[in-house]
Structures are given as C-alpha cells and as structure tokens.
Symmetry: C4
C-alpha cells in the first residue's frame, strides 16, 4: 500500500464525477440538431430525470460527488447548479458550450472559459476545478485554469494518480481521467450525430469498472469515474453504479471524495512532485 499522504491511508481514492452535458454535445456537433425533437429529448433526460435520481442515490449511499456543468447548461437551467451544491456536492467548470479546446483558437478558448466562469459567478456557485469538453485540452489549457484561480484540472491522462502541473500562472493539480472509466464509450448511442456502436450491458460495465478499481487499489491510484446523467441515469445503469459504490465501500479501503478535496490533498503532498508541462513533441 502506498504511503503517499494524498491517499490518507486508503488503498485508493474514488471520485464520482458527472458531466451534466444536456443538449450541449449534440448542439456543438451541429446547431441544426436543435430541430431534432427526439435527440433533444434524449439529452434533456440527463438534467431532468437523471440528475435528481443520481442525487437521491448519492444521499442513500452517503457519498459525495462532483458535477461538471457546461456554462450554457447552467445558464439555461438556472436552478440546476444550486440544487447540486445544496445537496453537499461540488459543481465544477466544464466549458461554456462543450466545444473541445483543440477545436478552438486561443482566443475562442479564452472567451469560452471566461463565459462559463461568468455564469457560475452570477449564480453564486464557487468553482475550484475544470474539465475540458470532450477532455480535449491543449497546451494552453492548464495555464488558463491557473489564471482563473482554479486549483485543479481533470482532463489529462499522463498518470493514474494525481499530479501537479506547474504553469506560468501558478501550480494546479491534475486529477487524471481515462476512457476506460467513462460511461460514454460503453453506453452512448445516437444515429445523428453518429455516436457509438453496440450498447453494452450494465453487467459488463460493472465488471470493467470493478476490475479497474481492483487494479487501482493494488497500485494506489485515483479512481476518477466519469458518468453522464443522460446515460448512467437510466434505471438499470444506475443500479449498476450503485452496486459499484457499495462494492467499493465494502472493501473498507476506498475513500470517496469531491474532486476539490483530492486536489487540495494532492497539492499538499510533497511526494507528488510538480511536473513542468512538457514541450509539445517534435516529430519525426
């Protein structure tokens, strides 16, 4: 077992995160999808049905979570972010319009980032962390996170334990994600825009995530799970997610935290040395 202080004696730390994207990923793929009523209803299920159900389940399980909300979603559903914070969970920054930074110019990313900060400020929601839309962070993204006074980002994959990134605007923590701990690749399906292929069963997804949890307990990692309310809020999938949490709690050596609490512990852990952001590789 690792003796790193950020783990606080646990074999692994778990962060349940929910990306409350609503209609934004589909509209970012094509504004004309606003006219597709079925597709819009598929996406609105997330905040309207999935989020309340998830909040109730978290209450029943007694574990905290972090909800990454695009500014556009928070603005068009004014009470949403507050309803999450009131239940003891964290709301964090997930872009304004759910466009990947890699698809934007420097200035577009700056503007999109600030616009989301403005929405949360206007709603009195305190923000400490950021996750790039589509996890599509690029080289300037960590500096932008630091520049806005946030403490962490959660979009990168250079490790499976938290690490610190030194930027020109100060140091932030990185809480790494990974495709294998994302419900999107397992469950998402839409014909237009074309998303997904076969739809996996909750039993398979539970098996996948339990295997990763076991590996992360073995290696002392951050089990940073990313779910989407329009996907994992569905009845059968939510029961599987509940079983995953119950399974982790039964181990007795997994601590569930909000992302901001992991970030604070990581920034205070001298065993996690700061990495300078590498130069982009030169190829070939």
């Amino acid at each position: 077992m690792s003796t790193d202080s950020w783990l606080g004696g646990a074999a692994a730390v778990a962060t349940l995160t929910f990306d409350v994207d609503a209609e934004s990923p589909v509209l970012a793929a094509g504004a004309h999808y606003a006219g597709h009523l079925m597709t819009m209803s598929h996406q609105s299920y997330g905040p309207d049905v999935g989020v309340p159900r998830i909040l109730d389940m978290l209450d029943e399980l007694g574990v905290p979570a972090t909800f990454f909300v695009p500014g556009w979603v928070a603005r068009h559903r004014p009470g949403l972010a507050a309803s999450i914070v009131e239940r003891g969970h964290e709301v964090a920054h997930h872009s304004y319009a759910h466009r990947a930074p890699t698809s934007m110019s420097d200035q577009e990313e700056r503007d999109d980032f600030a616009r989301a900060m403005d929405v949360f400020a206007a709603q009195g929601i305190e923000i400490q962390g950021h996750r790039a839309a589509l996890w599509g962070a690029r080289w300037q993204t960590p500096e932008l996170v630091a520049e806005h006074g946030l403490r962490y980002d959660s979009s990168l994959m250079a490790d499976d334990r938290p690490y610190r990134i030194a930027t020109a605007r100060g140091e932030i923590a990185e809480l790494p994600v990974h495709w294998s701990l994302d419900d999107w690749e397992q469950y998402a399906f839409l014909p237009e825009p074309a998303i997904g292929t076969v739809i996996e069963s909750p039993a398979k997804v539970l098996e996948l995530w339990c295997a990763e949890l076991d590996g992360m307990r073995h290696y002392g990692c951050l089990f940073n799970l990313c779910c989407h309310p329009f996907l994992s809020g569905r009845p059968g999938r939510l029961l599987a997610l509940r079983r995953l949490v119950e399974h982790a709690l039964e181990y007795g050596d997994v601590t569930f935290l909000r992302c901001r609490d992991v970030a604070a512990a990581a920034l205070a852990d001298p065993a996690l040395t700061a990495r300078a952001l590498p130069e982009p590789p030169v190829y070939p």
Copy 2:
C-alpha cells in the same frame, strides 16, 4: 413502489412492441437496394417468418403486444395488419415509407403521415398511436399525431415513464423509447447499406434487458421494448425474448399491456402532469 395510477399497482408496466419494417428501412436508404436479392430476403424474413412465429409465442405466453407497421408495408402485404389485430394485438402507425421526419420538409412529413393513415383506414385498421420512423421525430410531430386524432406517440426519450404532451391540436401521451431497449443496436447487421458492427449474443441482450427491467421495477417505469421481426424473429433470439417475458411474469409485479392501454391510463393519471413542448434550445 410508485402509487401513480397509470401503473395500476404494478412495479413496472411492460409494452412489447414490434416494428414491422420489412424492406422499408433499406429501401429508404437507397431505392437501388431493391435489386439486392439477398438484402431483400433478409428483410422479408420479418413479416414472412418472424411475425407468425412471434404471434404464436405471444399466444403461448398470453401477453398482448403492439405492432408498429409502416403504411407501405401494410399496403404491399394486404393481410398483414388484419392478421395481427385478429390475434388480439394492436397495430399502430409507423410512417408510410420509413423516412425519419427529421429528413423531410414539413409538407413531406404531413403527406407521409396522412398516406399511412389512408392505408390503415382502407384496411379497416383502427389506429390510436404513432412511432416515428427511426424514432426521428421533430418539433411538429406531436402536433401531427394529435391532429389526426391519435392518442399517443412513442418516439421520444425525455423520461422513462409516460408523460403528456400538450400541443396546439390537443394533448397526447408519450410512451418513451430508448436505444437500450431496442434490438436493432444489438443484432442488426448488413454490409450494404452499412448497418451494425459486431452481432451480440441473445444471452447478452437478455442480460441487458433484464438489468433494465430490474431498474424499471425499482423506479416505477414503462419497460417499452422495441423489437424487429427480421431481427428478433430469428430462432435463438426469440427464445431469449420468451425467457425475458417469462422472467418478468415470474416477478408477479410487471403488467404487460398494449400501448393504447398504457396511453389511456397515462392520459387519465393526474400525477402525470402535462408538459408543454419546450421551445427548441438556442445555442450557444
């Protein structure tokens, strides 16, 4: 357990629905596929072999079902719709030519909708509900359903319980569908037009649907299953579907109904408030 009246005391209500598409989805993708004998034979299996076998199985299980039939299919197989109604099941509207409303102009959708109504009227088939081809409903679709005097639509995904939609032409019930309760994403495969990737085993599909049924019994939902006779009419898959129904019946708290009966109960349930159809979202 929910005390909503539409559930009638059950933990969940189940609707077995069969979209009898025959050749129409392939021909809608390209009229030249009419010359592909193998592809046409793959599709004709649905009404010719799958439907009679499904009707026999439903008799043996003693459960009712709803068959969504495109008008073009009903017209070219004149006895098909009547043979379904005679066995005590419901026939409902599934477009005329299996083109998604989102791919048509307002007028084209209107004409296609009316043309199917005409076919069913000429055959003496009473229609109460509608499901959009490819579930591709757009903003005017619910109003069109109400305008023709139908009581329900079954193409949207804003909830996993029935809901009511207020339109300018009156109120209808929505019986929501979902990709995870559709056999198409699990089983469909054709090289031209390119449909599907890997083909799942009936055991996996049974596992997926049983998981969703359990979740829906937990949350008091409508288990609205969509199967296609050319897919689920195959021998091994039909045995899996039979096991699913038997499994649900063994619970003793799942009621199987035709869609029209669920719609009637939903429209009469004061706990299910009517939703005005939202404005299309403005983005960004």
Copy 3:
C-alpha cells in the same frame, strides 16, 4: 418437432460450411493490397494452415462439411479442392474472383460464374451448389445457378429452413444463411482494407451459436454455419468450433450433412413448396 421429410426425423439439420476465400476478398477490395505482405500472409493462413487443421478435426469428429471455394483460389492452389473432396467433403462454387454479384453487371456476373465452373471442370471437381461472394446475390443469380445445372444456392435469408426457388431455368433449393451464423462478423479484423471493429472471444461466439442451435432445434431449422479458415482455423477458435459440434452431437437430435444432401432432401420434400422469386419491391 417438425415432421418435414427433409429433417429426416432430426430436430435440426446442421451444415458446416467453410468459405475458403484466401486472398480474394482483400484483392477484390483493392488490387494494390497484393503488395501488403502482412495482409497477404493473414489471408494465406486460411488454405495453408486452417484448411488442413479443419480437415483433421472433421475426421476426428466424424462429420461431413462443405467448402465453398472461389475459382481464383482453386486455380492458384491446384491441389486444394481435390484434397477436400478426397476427405469425403463437398466442394462448391463461391464465384471466381469474390466480387459480389450486386457490384457487377449482368454480363460480368455471367462471365465470373462460368469462369469458376471452368476451373472446377478442369480439375475434375463436381459442383452441385453455389454461394455468392459476400452473399451479395441479386435477382438473376438463382436463374444462373439453375442454368448451370446446379441444384442449390446458399446466399439468401428469406427463411431459416430450406426452400425451393422456381426460376425460368428450373427449380433449385435455397439453403439460407444468416449473419449471426457467420464467423466474419465475430472475428474478422484488418486495418487496410478496414474490416471489423472489436474481436470477440471464442467463448462468446460459442454462446451465440449454441443459442441459435437451440432455437433451431426448437423450430426445426437448418443450422447453416459459415466459417472462414483464415478466421476459425486459429487455434482457440477451432477448439470452440469443435466444442460446438460435440455439443450438437451430444443432443442426439442434430444431423450433420453436406449441403448437397440437404438440397436433395429439400427438393424431394413436398412440404416445402416452391416459391416463385418475387418481383423486386416498388418503393415507395
């Protein structure tokens, strides 16, 4: 249990068929792939390693099989077809160059068909049946089969029991295939030409095929399995195929036959009425 005479008292009849495509499907997708040594080696594995191993396994199990061989493959591997017939199995026609009839003109299909017949005639291989490349039969294909004096085709999907097709050149039997009984969709993977997505485990494929076998025993069908030596000839997959056959033999009510023997029984069974080939559908 069905009392149709073609079943000969069995619950289901099984035909093990092997499409010995070798390099032809890849070269039909692009002649420049001839320069891709890895890809060519991937395909040559079929006749060079897979076929001898399959022949040995069939000997050990004591069951007959049918090998569909493109004329191009038979011509470039002169001893191949004879080595199969010598072991008591059937060799059948699988096009000359593994191009789908739907991708050819009438005359091109005629020429390709005849060219394969010439190869087999020159090698003294008697041919009774045909399977279209990529199963891509079109409307004239059955007549072409009859015109060449063959007794059956095995490319269509209008049923899961044999049926008879009346053509202007006489009647043939159809031994229907289906995507779910094909190893291609489960196992095939190549980056160029892009074939397949994820690769399934033999355990999943065994599960899928056993489920279909059970369904077909229930409904009295033809379990017409299509395997490719370059896919199912691999060690782990061949053991799974062996287990499938052993499993079927243990039931005691499944008869393994060559396709020509099923065709003869089907043509002699008055319960299987002849179907006129339908007109291509008019749409919409």
Copy 4:
C-alpha cells in the same frame, strides 16, 4: 504434443511483447496532434507509467519479455531502452517513426529502418529483431531485416508457429503475430484520431487470450502476445495480464522466452523448413 525442437519439449512457447509506441502512432496519423495535450498525455502514460510498472511485474513473475521500441521514442527518451535491457529483457526494432512500410516508398522504408538502427547503435543497444509499425510489412521488408543482420521479424501471419523466410540477403525467422493476440483491438480508444469503438473489460480479454493459449497448447504454437504499455499498463488490465501469465505458468507446459531466443531455436530446427517468400498474387 509436438516434437519440434524449437518447442524444447513445451506444449507452447509464449513471448510477451510490448510495443512501446508512446506518441508515435498518433503523430504519424497527424503531426498536428502534437498540440493535443490530452492525447499526448494519453500516449506518454505508456513509457512513463506503464513501462516501469510492467518491468516490476515481470520481475515478480520471473518471466522475460521483448520490447519493440520505435527509434523516435528511444531517441527522445534516452534512458528508456537501456532501462529495459538492464532488467534482463530484449529491446527490438519497431521502425523509426511508426509509419507502416505499406505507406512508404522503398527508399523511405530503407531510410526509416536505418535511422532506427542508428539510434539503437548510438545507445549501445544490440538489436536482433524487427516488427513493422502497424504490422504493415510489405514484400521487401524481410530482405531489409536480413540486410541489417537481424535474425527475425515479427509482423506476419502466415502461420501460428515460427517459420523461416529465405531472402536474397539470407534467412530470417518469422515469429508470427495475430490481431487476436493484440491488446490494441480490445482496449484502444481515442476520438481524434478516431481509434477504437467500445472498450472491452479485462475479464473478456483474459478469456480471449486464455482460449487462444489453450488452442496453442493443443496445436504446439507460438503464443506471441502483443501489448502496449499505454493500454495494458493501466491498473486493471495489468492485473489481468498478470493472471494470464500465472495461468500459463500453472499449466507447467508453457515456456516464456524472449523473441531472440525463439528465433534462434527456430533457425536451428530442421523441422521448420524455410519458405521462399511467395510472389505477390496475380489478381484476378
């Protein structure tokens, strides 16, 4: 059980191979991906986190392995190759820039091949074998391997046992690979460049590989497993890989070797006759 001398009395020989690609496959797909920080972090995980963890696991299990490293990766991470050799494992040639030979001209392939040799020579790393990037070998590749004095290639699929290839520049051993023994098709996922579809669970992959191991023990084959540290270095997947090795060791009839040792045994085995490289097939 085979009595071929290359097996050394084992039922099967196993080679654990790791393709340490780091950022190279993504950059070969598009140099602009260098600006995608998330994607670069996803790839750097391989050498930075995966490789050290894999080396520790190999120590614990007491089995040797072979690491195929692109010259570009070795050059930009100067200590990497040496750190692998120091632990008793083999480093082999995996192109310079991870471009498939089939995508290059003759001269480009020659230059790329030599450039990687130069990097390893400068680092004092002795190279005996080669694996083409993307396994994309073409007709001249084996001769190039021989020309540089290497003893084996591991990119082809004409067999599942080692074979010898006679080239104009001498004989080499081929240690064949296969898509079913590659973690890429099971685990790899990236949205840009678009790689992969659904992500499989380690349990499924373990099942797949154990099935192939059983088949290869049955037929006396080379179980030549290809893993990527950025994929199989993840916690849950690495535990599955450990279980695979433990499972193989428990059989007591599987020998784990470095590729160079298998190549030496294959070149010394008179039962493995040399194959002249066939002429590219003429089609149709």
